[in-house]
């Protein structure tokens, strides 16, 4: 029996040896990266809910390449490049993840489902209690989302790609996915992967940024107590969600699916429809997160992801997140001076909309130096406002960028 025949029995290895050198190195590198992501997810250094399916998918898709006839390489996972309906109908019956990709990814449905789940977890009461502070911090924390756009254009990306990578500054995975699906069809896989990898790093990286920018003395500031506690009824929150959703959909119809998903979650929560709350916060949110992670991993096949622009995307992603963190803390400092030094500037970092990670990071950084100081309510207000401002910026980019083209 010839060596080639034996190798054909193990086509994963045969296609590896048959690949050009850069693909061979890419496949091995991505398999190792996949295993590393699973490890980091298990150790909870990165978000396990996403990293374990993503890492496993990444390792498996790069291992499971086979010959598909005429010497072509391919997998039985998913083909993201198909557009022809006839071909698509055939492939839907072959690739096991193709139905989920075709019916939930290319139209942004999976981002909306995750966003609906986030909506159910949000309490807009925190925003309504401190609207000025929360919105101000959230706007400051969009520095990366706004400033990275011209930087990315200067690096040579087109407007759609630049806007998509700039959205990493919003630190909101579904939003990056939605924007890149709408504006950057060719680069949406690497951009979303970069986004989710970096979002995992906010938990580990932002505490160092806080320590670098805010001295211990300021981190221990106790916020001024409220004169009286205002309780906001669920009816008020529901009314706000309905009005805000309608107004934002009227302003940015292109991003209406995102707005309606977020505010539907909020509305269901405030209306107290327990069956819907349980369904959305459980099967919908966790089911979509599982398939989002798995599909993102599977889309990291060496032939798809090895793009010369990946390095610039990696750098721009970290620049966006860093600028947003700096912007948020800068906003915290502005409030610190406006409020006559009775405001903890660390709260500013929570304006970055990675719910609830950045609010938890802010509280954790404060607790380290002053365990009795509680900033979580203020931080959650900024955090939830961050989700809303990031959704608005998504709407602005998705609406305006087509005019640039």
């Amino acid at each position: 029996m010839h060596t080639q025949d034996i190798l054909n029995l193990f086509q994963g290895v045969a296609t590896l040896l048959d690949s050009p050198t850069h693909i061979l190195i890419g496949r091995i590198g991505l398999m190792l990266l996949g295993l590393l992501l699973v490890y980091l997810g298990k150790k909870e250094i990165l978000e396990p809910l996403l990293m374990i399916p993503m890492g496993l998918g990444m390792a498996a898709v790069n291992a499971g390449v086979l010959f598909l006839g005429k010497g072509q390489h391919g997998t039985l996972f998913v083909d993201p490049t198909l557009t022809d309906p006839a071909q698509l109908m055939n492939v839907l019956q072959i690739n096991f993840l193709q139905p989920i990709y075709t019916f939930t990814f290319s139209n942004g449905l999976i981002a909306c489902l995750v966003f609906m789940g986030i909506g159910v977890l949000l309490d807009v009461g925190y925003v309504l209690q401190r609207p000025f502070e929360s919105m101000f911090l959230a706007l400051c924390a969009e520095l990366g989302t706004v400033a990275t756009f011209p930087i990315a254009m200067a690096v040579g990306l087109n407007a759609g790609d630049a806007a998509s990578i700039a959205m990493v500054g919003g630190a909101d995975g579904p939003m990056v996915l939605y924007t890149s699906l709408m504006l950057s069809k060719n680069l949406f896989v690497p951009i979303t992967i970069v986004a989710y990898l970096y979002l995992g790093l906010t938990y580990g990286g932002y505490p160092y940024l806080i320590k670098l920018l805010v001295p211990k003395r300021l981190r221990a500031i106790k916020p001024a107590p409220p004169k009286r506690v205002v309780t906001i009824s669920s009816g008020e929150k529901l009314a706000f969600a309905v009005i805000a959703c309608t107004v934002l959909c009227l302003l940015f119809p292109v991003a209406a699916p995102l707005f309606v998903s977020l505010f539907l979650g909020v509305a269901v929560r405030e209306a107290g429809i327990q069956h819907f709350i349980d369904f959305i916060a459980g099967p919908v949110l966790y089911g979509s997160t599982l398939f989002l992670g798995l599909l993102l991993g599977v889309l990291c096949e060496a032939n798809t992801i090895l793009n010369p622009q990946i390095l610039s995307l990696l750098i721009l992603g970290i620049v966006a997140l860093l600028l947003s963190g700096i912007g948020g803390i800068g906003g915290g400092y502005i409030l610190y001076f406006i409020k006559k030094r009775r405001y903890n500037p660390v709260i500013g970092i929570a304006g970055v909309s990675c719910v609830p990670t950045t609010a938890k990071v802010a509280q954790k950084s404060v607790t380290e130096v002053a365990p009795e100081v509680l900033i979580l309510p203020e931080a959650l207000g900024a955090n939830i406002s961050g989700v809303i401002t990031t959704a608005i910026l998504t709407g602005i980019y998705v609406t305006l960028i087509p005019f640039f083209k």
Binding site: E236, F240, I243, I392
Partner: protein, 63 residues
């Protein structure tokens, strides 16, 4: 905050927000080309300002 003041924020904010939408999406496109960008931006800001005005009616006052 009294009930009537709260109501003012809700009704006023909603009206401001929808007025902003009307300016941005209905009025602005029919204006002369030079004014369109300014009117659109103003409409968007007014709409978001309306939402903020509603939120102001429920906020916590600090000492």
């Amino acid at each position: 905050m009294t009930k009537s003041k709260k109501r003012l924020h809700w009704i006023g904010g909603t009206l401001i927000a929808f007025a902003g939408v009307a300016i941005a999406r209905l009025l602005a496109p029919s204006l002369p080309p030079g004014i369109i960008p300014g009117a659109t931006v103003a409409g968007h800001l007014l709409a978001l300002g309306g939402l903020l005005f509603i939120a102001m009616g429920t906020r916590v006052r600090k000492m």
